[in-house]
């Protein structure tokens, strides 16, 4: 193992194992008599632990990796004191990843047809030069905006840098197939962002309702906080029992795509039975806002000449007057009455809460039972529990399911607003921001815009290229955080403009995005497809160039800790070098080197010196500068000693910048919503042309199953879900490649556990085969399978690889995108035939 | 037959059997080197071992009838086959031991069982009892051979009693190797002891028929006697076996864990083996043939019955030992841990080796020792 920068610290003296933490015990005194056949077994005493964070998924939990005397990652432990400690089956599989025979070892260029899987290994220069010249050709013809980059969690921090590096705004993540709808909803109700920006305070909560949220999927820190909270009662509402259901959790099966009806029914019960937090709603939400018959809020501009359109009017019960919500002493939550407009006309106004109740009244528990399949009594029970135990409803995560998910999340968030359990211990809390510096920010210097990197390089506006052009997905779905389907449209239909080159970095649109056939068609139409990854994904099989990336164990990185309410920064430390014979490079280096060859002025402006072509120089100088700048920035921002921060990151793997401070938003700090308050009646949605209140519509993403052999095909994630981890050997045994079927359905169709069935998509006409698992873990009329794991088609995988078994549910997903919001939908409906 | 002195026939037999013994051993060793872990912990070699072990107990037939009960046959026929019968037991036991040794992964440290004897282990007792039993049978053989030149009846009687007691303990213990394993309900309990002791008599009679009868083939009187002698034992044995089989199936029905296995045997994946081989061939056909042979003094019919008994016995033991391991209760009630059984090539090779070894070792002994009816000790020093 060659040594590198700071190895002497990293593969360090950290802890003889016996010192590693509590609960140490004298397991066995005698050394096992080693059998002669166990030649490879290293002396265990030589195991050294390196603190880092887990890159097997995007959760990035705090882990320490034990490397044995042979320099091989042997075991992964949590960092005991880490605010997001822990690991699940994915990180536990990391020892299989490092020198895995499947790992991409050298750059490869396609020699056969796209998808044929025929490649030739080439050296880095050859690969990078040919990519660069092709890229230049494309840019000359179509402009920078013809380049798109898609990614998942790996290298996310650098994506905005890549945007400037390649002069394109089209850096479009996986989010459209994950939490897009939820993120838009979070923005509308709480002006919050992606999933961890608000999160239940698991360690103090007493009742947690998880609707279409597994909890067992990622973020073992959250799992630890929830599971070790002895007071916490958990209810899961899901068509299938997620793994968290194995714990002491009540699981309520629901008909797929009806979450909004369930949530609205809860809202109804809370309002009807007076189980809402009136005080909170009056002070911190727009519940008392008066809404005009046209759905718009009554503002000062409506009633006073020259009035302020941002002064929302409420009825003050104290003096029975209409006034600005900020001035009212006792805003009436239920006011229904007349308001006189400035032109003298009288209109009827109602409070937002009244309108919400009217909406929710469509879903009285008995009616909701008919829609959701959940007993009216259970709905009332959940609603009362939430109110009486001061509960919290999870804000959801992976939600791109049925095409009506935006309303699901909004309704769930509104329940939290009604309970008033916001930013309080045990409630739905805003995460403290780590104020982690962006890798690139745009500044105005002497009247001219420049992009400045965290390490001090600046790019003048003239070099921005198409960075300021609208992204293809936002052109189509104006609120979307990201929707890759629009990139496919831009490739296939060349609208609003053609996309010709695509970089796929550490992700797999073929597994990730709905309508797999469409992805393949788009791939075939591209002029350049570059896949940068660590394993032969299905997408790699279609690429023109496949470039081998480093794995998380082989690099340093810094990030804010994701799944904690505290502001925490954490460090990934290089645990091992790539194994002998693996000529792999950081995607960061790869992207810079492509840019240096294609658009040298861009790379130079962003601080890329020619000498970094030498990988060692990149590792030792560029990365060092980058890390150092980030630490300096953080130290300056938080006014802490830089060396102290650096030392903590090296030795502990993390540093807590600020502990969670409760009762801040919306109490002391106004929210970023139009009203500055929690919006149960979303003015932002209204402004975007959406219904300001959530409603239930039957899933628009697929034809509903009707015949006895027709089923919903729902998918979900579990603690093993990962495009990469699912190729590791443990998954051959532990990974569930089956399609779940309820025993009563199985009996009706004469299907037994382990039988093979054929699934035929009702909408797409496609067929696939899978093995059935007969289990009570899924609702009647519903089939379940894990997403983004199975049904691989890559020709780069060895023949008969286990990951080819099972189905990729996205194959059947029609490709429905929620208008405006831009969330995708991966569920579908299928016909089943026993083979 | 009956070449008493160093005739060329005997030398040829010696050389051929010695070569076959070496081949048999070599095949067993070869099979052992190809050994792999299979899903069922106790694979086919275990029923094969049990099969040979039961046959090797056949000495008790002779000890019981000839020595203890003093039944020598109307013309002393039984006395004439005692020596060869005892040797048959020894040769068979050697096959059994080799099979079980080949089933273990480190047979070369078998001695550990004596030095680190675990009193609660049935297997440890098995090894000890088998060693004692072998010593008794060998002494018996020596005594019987020497008795040909002088009366040692009291010693013989004492040895026979001892032999029977040890054998009963041995086969009860063998049954309890399985019977003490609560993890496998189909084995658990004392019922297998009866099964195994009947097995010793039935399979032993069949084995002796097959291996001793050829030496009596030209001696019509002896042949006729042996046909009726073994025929009667087999009739009785098969009737008891039939009773025990029915009894086992019935008792199995009352215990869900046992029935999980027996339902596979009686009505599931293994039912063809059970109904055709065990019931139709092993019980009905054998009973008919044995009755016919006994009353008609028809030796070929008895030979056929013996062959069928051995085949059915092996299948029966395999069902009992293997199938019971394919479906065992899981830690969550009502659920079973399933394991698929496949015959592996290495097991098949070892069994072939044992099948080569069995008759060749038997013949080899017969060429070296004065075992045949009427043969006097003169070749070897210890018998002088």
């Amino acid at each position: 193992m060659k040594t590198s920068r700071r190895d002497f610290i990293k593969i360090s003296t950290i802890a003889a194992l016996a010192l590693l933490g509590a609960k140490s015990y004298d397991l066995v005194v005698s050394r096992r008599l080693s059998e002669s056949l166990l030649l490879e077994e290293a002396p265990v005493a030589g195991v050294k632990f390196v603190k880092t964070f887990g890159g097997m998924c995007g959760a990035l939990c705090g882990i320490q990796v034990g490397v044995d005397g042979n320099g091989r990652p042997r075991v992964v432990f949590p960092i005991k004191e880490h605010p997001q400690k822990g690991l699940c089956g994915r990180c536990a599989s990391a020892p299989w990843l490092w020198d895995n025979p499947l790992r991409l070892k050298k750059p490869m260029v396609r020699v056969g047809e796209r998808g044929e899987g025929k490649f030739r290994e080439v050296d880095w220069d050859t690969a990078l030069n040919s990519i660069a010249s092709k890229l230049k050709e494309i840019v000359d013809k179509y402009g920078y905006k013809a380049i798109a980059i898609t990614h998942h969690d790996a290298w996310t921090y650098y994506m905005s840098l890549f945007s400037y590096l390649f002069g394109t705004s089209n850096v479009i993540s996986h989010v459209g197939m994950c939490h897009a709808a939820g993120t838009v909803a979070r923005g509308h109700v709480f002006s919050a962002g992606g999933p961890p920006s608000i999160d239940p305070d698991y360690e103090n909560a007493s009742f947690l309702l998880l609707v279409s949220r597994t909890l067992s999927t990622a973020s073992m820190g959250a799992v630890h906080r929830a599971m070790t909270n002895e007071r916490l009662e958990i209810v899961v509402v899901d068509p299938r029992m997620p793994e968290v259901g194995f714990a002491n959790v009540k699981w309520i099966p629901i008909i797929p795509g009806t979450d909004a009806a369930f949530a609205l029914s809860i809202i109804y019960v809370l309002l009807e039975e007076g189980l809402y937090n009136a005080d909170f709603l009056k002070k911190y939400s727009n519940a008392p806002f008066l809404i005009k018959p046209d759905g718009k809020p009554l503002t000062e501009a409506d009633i006073v000449e020259g009035g302020d359109a941002r002064k929302y009017i409420v009825f003050d019960a104290k003096d029975k007057k209409l006034k600005d919500h900020r001035e009212a002493v006792d805003p009436d939550l239920w006011y229904v009455g007349e308001a006189t407009l400035k032109d003298g006309t009288k209109i009827e106004v109602k409070t937002a809460l009244t309108l919400l109740k009217e909406r929710a009244s469509k879903y009285k528990p008995e009616e909701a039972e008919r829609i959701t399949g959940i007993k009216a009594g259970d709905i009332r029970w959940v609603a009362r529990k939430l109110a009486l135990k001061n509960g919290v409803v999870h804000d959801t995560w992976y939600i791109s399911r049925n095409g009506n998910d935006y309303d699901d999340v909004r309704a769930l968030l509104i329940i939290n607003a009604l309970l008033g359990n916001i930013d309080k211990p045990g409630g739905l809390c805003f995460q403290e921001s780590a104020r982690f510096p962006s890798v690139i920010t745009v500044k105005t210097v002497e009247g001219k815009r420049v992009a400045e990197t965290v390490y001090g390089a600046t790019m003048p506006e003239e070099l921005f290229g198409d960075v300021t052009q609208p992204r293809v997905d936002r052109a189509k779905y104006k609120l979307t955080p990201a929707q890759f389907d629009a990139v496919l449209d831009a490739i296939l239909e060349e609208k609003p403009y053609p996309v010709k080159a695509l970089f796929v970095i550490g992700t797999s649109p073929l597994m990730r995005d709905m309508n797999t056939r469409k992805v393949i068609e788009a791939y075939k139409k591209l002029e350049l497809l570059v896949v940068i990854d660590i394993l032969p994904t299905d997408d790699a099989g279609y690429a023109d160039y496949v470039l081998p990336d480093t794995i998380f164990l082989e690099r340093d990185e810094m990030t804010s800790t994701k799944w904690t309410l505290h502001a925490v920064v954490q460090k990934q430390s290089k645990v091992v070098d790539p194994p002998e014979g693996f000529d792999v490079r950081d995607a960061l280096w790869i992207m810079f080197e492509i840019a240096r060859r294609a658009f040298p002025e861009r790379a130079k402006a962003l601080g890329w010196d020619d000498k970094y072509a030498n990988y060692k120089a990149y590792e030792e100088e560029f990365l060092h500068k980058l890390d150092d700048s980030i630490i300096s920035r953080l130290a300056a921002t938080w006014k802490i000693d830089k060396e102290k921060l650096e030392k903590a990151l090296e030795e502990e793997g993390y540093y807590v910048l600020k502990r969670k401070e409760y009762y801040v938003r919306p109490y002391k700090t106004a929210l970023g919503t139009p009203s500055g308050k929690v919006e149960i009646y979303s003015l932002a949605a209204l402004g975007a042309g959406l219904d300001p209140l959530p409603d239930y519509i039957p899933p628009p993403a697929y034809t509903l199953p009707r015949a006895p052999n027709e089923f919903y095909l729902v998918n979900g994630k579990g603690p093993l879900t990962s495009v990469h981890a699912s190729l590791m050997e443990p998954m051959k045994f532990v990974g569930d490649r089956s399609v779940w079927m309820n025993p009563r359905d199985a009996e009706r169709l004469g299907i037994r556990d382990g039988d093979m069935i054929e699934l035929e998509s009702i909408d797409m006409g496609l067929k696939a085969m899978a093995r059935v698992k007969v289990t009570e873990g899924v609702r009647e009329g519903v089939l379940f399978t894990y997403s983004t794991m199975w049904g691989r088609i890559s020709k780069l995988l060895p023949e008969g690889h286990f990951a080819m078994e099972g189905i990729n549910p996205n194959l059947f997903a029609k490709g429905y995108v929620i208008p405006i919001v831009g969330g995708g939908a991966s569920n579908s409906s299928v016909r089943v035939r026993k083979l | 037959m009956g070449g008493v002195t160093g005739a060329p026939g005997r030398l040829t037999a010696f050389i051929v059997s010695l070569i076959l013994v070496i081949i048999g051993l070599a095949v067993i060793v070869y099979g052992f080197t190809r050994k792999e872990v299979h899903v069922i912990s106790w694979g086919l070699l275990v029923p094969a071992y049990t099969f040979f072990a039961l046959i090797s107990g056949s000495a008790i037939i002779l000890e019981g009838a000839h020595t203890v009960l003093g039944y020598k046959g109307p013309r002393g026929e039984l006395a004439r086959i005692v020596k060869i019968g005892l040797w048959f037991s020894i040769a068979t036991a050697v096959c059994a031991w080799l099979l079980i040794a080949a089933e273990t992964t480190k047979p070369w440290i078998f001695w550990r069982i004596f030095t680190d004897f675990n009193v609660t282990s049935r297997i440890a007792w098995m090894v000890l009892l088998y060693a004692i039993y072998a010593v008794i049978v060998i002494i018996q053989l020596i005594v019987v051979i020497r008795a040909a030149s002088g009366s040692l009846e009291k010693v013989e009687l004492a040895l026979a009693f001892l032999g029977i007691i040890v054998a009963v303990a041995l086969y009860s213990n063998l049954a309890q190797v399985y019977g003490t394993i609560a993890a496998i309900p189909a084995w658990y309990g004392p019922h297998l002891a009866a099964y195994f002791i009947v097995g010793v008599v039935l399979l032993g009679a069949a084995g002796q028929t097959l291996f001793i009868m050829p030496y009596a083939w030209r001696d019509e009187e002896l042949k006729g006697f042996l046909t009726q002698f073994y025929g009667r034992i087999m009739i009785l044995g098969v009737l008891i076996l039939a009773f025990l089989t029915v009894w086992n199936v019935i008792t199995a029905w009352y215990n869900p864990g046992v029935w999980a296995v027996y339902s596979e045997i009686v009505a599931g994946a293994y039912s063809a083996w059970f109904w055709i081989i065990v019931v139709l061939i092993g019980i009905i056909a054998v009973l008919v043939l044995a009755l016919y042979a006994t009353f008609k003094r028809n030796a070929p019919a008895l030979i056929l019955a013996a062959i069928l008994t051995l085949i059915a016995g092996f299948v029966n033991l395999s069902l009992l030992i293997i199938v019971s391991q394919t479906k065992v209760p899981e830690v969550l009630g009502g659920l079973y841990r399933l394991a698929a059984f496949h015959i592996t090539s290495w097991e098949a090779i070892i069994i072939v080796g044992a099948i080569i070894l069995w008759p060749s070792l038997y013949v080899l002994g017969q060429t070296l020792l004065p075992l045949l009816p009427g043969e006097k000790p003169k070749r070897l020093f210890i018998f002088k």
Partner: protein, 186 residues
Amino acid sequence: MRLAFVWDSRRCIGCMACVIACASANHPELLREAKPNPQWNWLGGNIRVVVRDVGGRPVLRLVSCQHCDNPPCVHACPTGASYIDERTGFVRLDPSKCVGCKACVVACPYGARWLHPVTMLPEKCPGPFCSEIKKAVCAEVCPAGARLVGDLDDPESPVNEVLRKYKTERMLEHLGTEPKWFIITG
């Protein structure tokens, strides 16, 4: 010392971290084997997973050596290769005494032993790595705080604390094996 395992079924979310970590830590030599554990058709590790529908929903059990006080495997072993280690109370294997008769594998009602495909030794918990580091990898990695190991003989040990506080059960207790592996059920 009588070390016992405690597994909190109320907390376990079936994330498989313990199952997989046990294999990678204790049997790295089987990392790339096609059939690392042919007997269980499973990883080369000491923890099995059992799931069964009970009362209308799937129930999970993680199964490994129960370290019985009255262990059938130890009783069945002809040479004492399987034994109770007096220092820890754990059921252990001394490979130098093991003749490979597999009686322990057959006798274990928990199916907690498996034959190593290369050495053919009957493997079980605790594996060599855990033995060496004197820690149970499964308990170390558990993200849900669902695993605990401690001394039953020490009244102050966390295990005894947990046993006093919660309702626990042991698997297949009716067989009289007296397992030192407790499941918190309520």
